[in-house]
């Protein structure tokens, strides 16, 4: 018995040594991920950047393995023929979800500098300097800034509300970017459906998209297992149900169309198909996203193309897709996430 106990003590010592050795070894090798990056493809050319350029650009969260993982990066538009060879300008920001427009950006991130770690929203300016920090109540999923930069909206996932029936709960907050003050949560706004007041305790909102005036918006409302597209006004704190089966809308720059994801596969929600809806006529048609399920709030790249994140077998990153419904998607930026296009 004593010999066995001694052997166990020895095993404990070896275990501690093994952990220490592992940490020391992986640290000594200056960059463990360098090899992986080299194997993954051509090295990305990286340069630091201290403020937002005046020319058009695409901002995103860099997800390439290595020291810049999680950093907010941007690339000039138009992109070259092989965008993976273009320079990625690295900012000082680290975000999990990012969006930017007209001098104001919003960065949603896990703040693990103090325990317990919590999610926060940081409002930053054109020099990437954080201006305001707001606490979040759960992991962030969507972020938007209005075209004029005046307002920002973000959605977080309220974890743990109910996992048993797979219904999750979300919270969407609108803030004033300059002051950092919340203007309200969509759950506090009044909703009408077919002209009648519409209200239920299980209302969940997510995926807000701003109109050009920074006041009107579209968003998703979910209640009793049904999803609706709502259109509303932040100033009037009200909205109206437009149609059913719409999730994560994104309003086109000319405000005539909305690209959204439509749940497919019934109760189990096995995936989402992207659709484009003509707001004037109410006619919608699916986009050619091939066999992939896309779970993102897309952004408009130009008048006829959208960008979104997908981890397809051909590559994880930001994909470009035409809204014509015929052309297939194309991997635009490898290892990039949360795209925001600034014209």
């Amino acid at each position: 018995v004593t010999r066995a106990r001694l052997a166990f003590l020895a095993a404990c010592v070896i275990a501690i040594l093994a952990i220490v050795a592992y940490v020391a070894m992986t640290r000594a090798r200056s960059d463990l991920n360098a090899a992986a990056r080299a194997a993954a493809g051509p090295p990305v050319h990286v340069e630091p950047i201290a403020s937002v350029p005046d020319a058009p650009f695409i901002m995103f969260r860099d997800a390439s393995p290595g020291e810049f993982y999680g950093r907010v990066a941007l690339m000039h538009l138009p992109l070259g023929p092989d965008p993976d060879r273009d320079t990625r300008f690295m900012t000082s920001l680290e975000c999990e979800r990012v969006f930017y427009a007209a001098g104001w950006g919003v960065c949603l991130v896990l703040d693990d500098t103090k325990l317990p770690a919590s999610y926060v929203a940081r409002v930053f300016d054109r020099t990437f300097a954080p201006r305001h920090t707001l606490p979040l109540t759960g992991p962030p999923i969507r972020a938007r800034v209005s075209v004029d930069g005046r307002r920002a909206a973000f959605t977080v996932f309220e974890s743990g509300h109910s996992y048993a029936d797979e219904s999750f709960s979300t919270r969407t907050t609108v803030i004033d970017t300059a002051s950092g003050k919340p203007l309200g949560e969509l759950e506090q706004f009044t909703v009408r459906k077919d002209g009648q007041p519409f209200k239920s305790i299980d209302f969940n909102f997510w995926g807000l998209t701003f109109a050009r005036d920074g006041d009107h918006f579209y968003a998703t409302l979910r209640t009793k297992g049904q999803r609706f597209l709502v259109k509303g006004s932040i100033d009037k704190r009200e909205m109206e149900v437009v149609r059913a089966d719409v999730e994560c809308p994104s309003l086109s720059p000319d405000e005539t169309r909305v690209v959204y994801k439509k749940p497919v596969g019934g109760v189990l929600e096995v995936g989402w198909r992207l659709n484009v809806l003509d707001l004037a006529s109410g006619v919608e048609h699916p986009l050619n996203q091939q066999s992939r399920s896309v779970d993102d709030q897309v952004d408009w790249f130009d008048a006829d193309h959208i960008v979104y994140h997908d981890s397809a077998p051909q590559g994880t990153g930001v994909w470009l897709l035409s809204v014509d419904g015929a052309s297939p998607p194309r991997l635009l930026l490898r290892n990039a996430y949360s795209p925001a296009v600034q014209h």
Binding site: A15, T26, L115, G160, Y163, I201, E269, D295, S311
Partner: protein
């Protein structure tokens, strides 16, 4: 109802069989402690890891959690069956611990890979846990004298809870020191899991079983070492493969009913915490701390309450263990004390609930099960109570969305009260000791 004799037993300073439990129980406890540290480390960082490295959708997170919580229930029962059939409880438990350790190795290799690979690893870990539960509990019960059963389970559960409390803390400290180095977490988790297997091999010995009357494994601890050297006692076989004849004993049927009935009316911790936080308008990020607090209360109370159960009766302690739960539900419902005091009280109440039900139920069942079919019987009890809790979670989730939080709380609190009164009224104390 109770005589002075009961009070005399309660206030006796030393437990009837003494505080000391055999080395085998400690060995199994240390194995569980290390395995729990290893598993909780990964479980804690899993959501953050998935969101940060893969941008996973919340729905997939829900699926991952569901896989982890739901788990393969029937595997428990297979573990118990094999352990009893072969008589090799240590080996069966070892396979379970080994499988979980293997999954840790998988995390090292497949980190950053597809969702499918990760789901398989989570599922594998849970299968390992399910396989080892029954043979491990059987070994605990067979290592001690029957009058010491609940104390021994208390010691084991205290060490187990210590692991559950330490795992997340270790993960946070590591992530804090080495930001984003998930590989260090996975490596540490693997090493700790292997150490758990080493603890089982080196500190635990197989308990020989002879066909005896229920709960007469009263071989003194010192005698085990000598006996294990020649552990070739022939194992008896059952008439039926699944030991259904166990159900012919009324006391065991009663325990199964007790476990299942209370399980159905018990609200899952996750719901209790979320309701508490929601009704206090507190931040959801406190949830992990509430779990840790509950685990600490559990580990502090497990041994004293186990000793108490050995003295005043395991069934009584198990039933009365639901009183703190009733108080906790009532408190969440009424929203009486203000944040954070309601959380502190809730932690203490839930911790004492676990301390007086978890190990106590296993000891109560063990005291009624014949030694050769003990793992199987314990697996039945475990399956019954897990299945009941799963039903409770689904029921609670459905009712919550349909009827709202206040109504669902009232329904569950009332049901628990009725179940409690019914079992307490039909007092049938076991006199197995």
């Amino acid at each position: 109802v109770y005589s002075n004799d009961w009070a005399a037993r309660l206030f006796q300073v030393r437990p009837a069989a003494g505080w000391r439990v055999p080395a085998n129980v400690w060995g199994l406890g240390i194995t569980s402690l290390l395995t729990d540290i290893s598993s909780e480390m990964v479980v804690t960082i899993l959501p953050v890891y998935l969101v940060m490295t893969s941008g996973f959708a919340p729905l997939l997170l829900g699926v991952a959690t569901g896989l982890h919580e739901g788990g393969p229930l029937l595997i428990t029962w297979v573990g118990g069956w094999i352990a009893d059939r072969s008589g090799r409880r240590k080996l069966t438990a070892g396979v379970g611990y080994g499988l979980s350790a293997l999954c840790r190795l998988g995390w090292m290799i497949f980190s950053g890979q597809t969702m499918g690979a990760l789901a398989v690893l989570v599922l594998g870990d849970r299968m390992g846990k399910a396989v080892r539960t029954a043979p491990r509990d059987a070994m605990i019960s067979l290592s001690v004298r029957s009058e010491q059963l609940a104390t021994a389970f208390g010691v084991h559960r205290a060490l187990d809870a210590a692991g559950a409390a330490m795992g997340p803390v270790l993960a946070f400290v590591l992530l804090w020191q080495f930001p984003r180095r998930f590989d260090i977490i996975f490596f540490t988790s693997l090493i700790v899991a292997l150490l758990g297997v080493a603890a089982l091999i080196l500190l635990v010995h197989e308990v020989p079983v002879s066909a005896q009357a229920p709960a007469l494994a009263s071989v003194p601890a010192s005698a085990h070492a000598a006996a294990s050297a020649s552990a070739s006692t022939p194992e008896p076989r059952y008439a039926s493969a699944f030991a259904f004849e166990l159900f012919e004993q009324p006391p065991l049927r009663h325990v199964l009913m007790l476990a299942a009935t209370f399980g159905v009316v018990t609200i899952s911790d996750a719901f209790v915490y979320v309701l508490l936080l929601q009704r206090s308008n507190a931040n959801i990020s406190w949830v992990p701390l509430l779990y840790t607090g509950t685990a600490i209360t559990f580990l502090l109370l497990a041994v004293p309450i186990g000793a108490l159960a050995d003295r005043v009766g395991r069934r009584a302690v198990f039933i009365c263990g639901h009183i703190p739960l009733l108080i906790a539900y009532g408190m969440v419902l009424a929203g009486l004390p203000v944040w954070p005091w309601n959380a502190v009280i809730c932690i203490l109440l839930l911790g004492s609930f676990y301390a007086s039900t978890d190990g106590v139920l296993a000891s109560l069942a063990s005291s009624l099960l014949p030694a050769p079919s003990r793992a199987m019987g314990l697996a039945w009890v475990d399956t019954a109570s897990s299945l009941a809790r799963l039903c409770s979670s689904i029921l609670f989730g459905l009712l919550w969305t349909r009827a709202g939080d206040v109504r669902v709380l009232i329904i569950f609190t009332t049901s628990l009260f009725i179940v409690f009164i019914s079992f307490a009224a039909f007092a049938r104390e076991e006199h197995s000791a």
